[in-house]
């Protein structure tokens, strides 16, 4: 069974925020909900790098372990989803998550947190596939359509990879090996001529 994963190639990411807006616009998220975000380190200095972060759809996910209502579940293909009908907005998942993926909109009463929202790997949610309810609560269900997640598909430099863990690992490994050609950089000049 394919195991869905994200991988952000730090050497490629240019912090253009394309993934962030693709996600927000594609799922019509309210302002303030960041299913995906871009983080820059060493800004303005040599060694500046950026990375795009969202739910990593962990195997044995910590959020599932701490959820008091069992609202979070993992599909067979590894995608971790939340059932917003069950979620009580307690926020434990946020505290358990290493990546800060869970997001909480302001609910109605006293501005308390509403049901948790997070990256769905564009796989919708537990509501009937392609139903109005699914779209409203979880956004598009692109996986059911056989389409790639928006963020990775719209990544400007193809830094963000999404898909079967084994496949994207292969791609990334090849890239690394190829960049490794940077090691041999100049060798052709030094030895061939």
């Amino acid at each position: 069974m394919a195991r869905m994963k994200f991988l952000c190639d730090i050497e490629r990411c240019i912090a253009c925020n394309g993934c962030v807006v693709a996600c927000k616009e594609g799922h019509q998220l309210p302002v303030g909900i960041n299913r995906r975000r871009v983080v820059i380190i060493n800004e303005g200095q040599p060694g500046e790098k950026s990375i795009s972060i969202a739910c990593m759809h962990c195997s044995d996910a910590p959020c599932i372990a701490v959820c008091p209502v069992g609202a979070i579940y993992q599909r067979e293909d590894g995608i971790v989803l939340v059932n917003k009908d069950i979620c009580i907005g307690c926020g434990y998942c946020f505290m358990a998550c290493p990546f800060g993926a869970p997001q909480f909109p302001r609910g109605n009463a006293f501005g308390a947190r509403g049901a948790m929202d997070k990256c769905t790997f564009c796989a919708g949610g537990p509501a009937p596939t392609f139903s109005e309810k699914e779209r409203r609560l979880y956004g598009q269900n692109r996986i059911a359509e056989g389409k790639v997640p928006l963020c990775a598909g719209m990544c400007s430099t193809k830094a963000l990879l999404a898909g079967d863990g084994a496949v994207i690992a292969d791609i990334f490994r090849e890239r690394v090996a190829r960049r490794g050609s940077g090691i041999a950089w100049g060798w052709s000049k030094a030895y061939k001529e």
């Binding site: 394919a2 067979e76 193809k158 999404a162 079967d164």
Partner: protein, 196 residues
Amino acid sequence: MGAKKVFSNPAKIAGKPITLNPKLARRAFLKIAAATAGLTGLALSSKIVRRTEAKERPKTPYPGSKIIRTICTHCAVGCGIYAEVQNGVWVRQEIAQDHPISRGGHCCKGAGAIDMVRSEKRLKYPLKREGGRWKKISWEQAFDEICSKLLEIREKYGPDAVHWNGSAKVSTEMAYLQRKLAAFWGTNNIDHQARI
């Protein structure tokens, strides 16, 4: 399981022969497109999808929609956009994975291209400033007033009393008409963003 696999591989990377053969490298690179596109098949093989499919659900979230190819309006790279339109409404921006320049890629501006027709801030009708306030007017009134004022100025001061600022954000055809309009108006006072 997948995680472990990723974890156990790195040792091989170092041992892999380094190559500068561009042909080989290119073939490898093309797989990246396959990576995102390749997911397609994999996702469909998921049991969950199969199970839901058995229940005869609609094949697409927007039945009867059609895909229109168009081009991003933000910068001159010329990224492709697939606009999914259902009943005359742009419902979704799709990934133009097979566009030769952008290959589906967008920056944040392009990823939100659909907002150009969705934004609540779009102007809705012609406006005129009157007594310091904006007043809604009809198109007919707007055209009549503007054109008669322009003609009046032309009459009184000459054609060069009007400056036209054209645009680099319209189609080539429209830009051409802007230049042509200035010529027919009788002035060379026309310019656009390429100047600056």
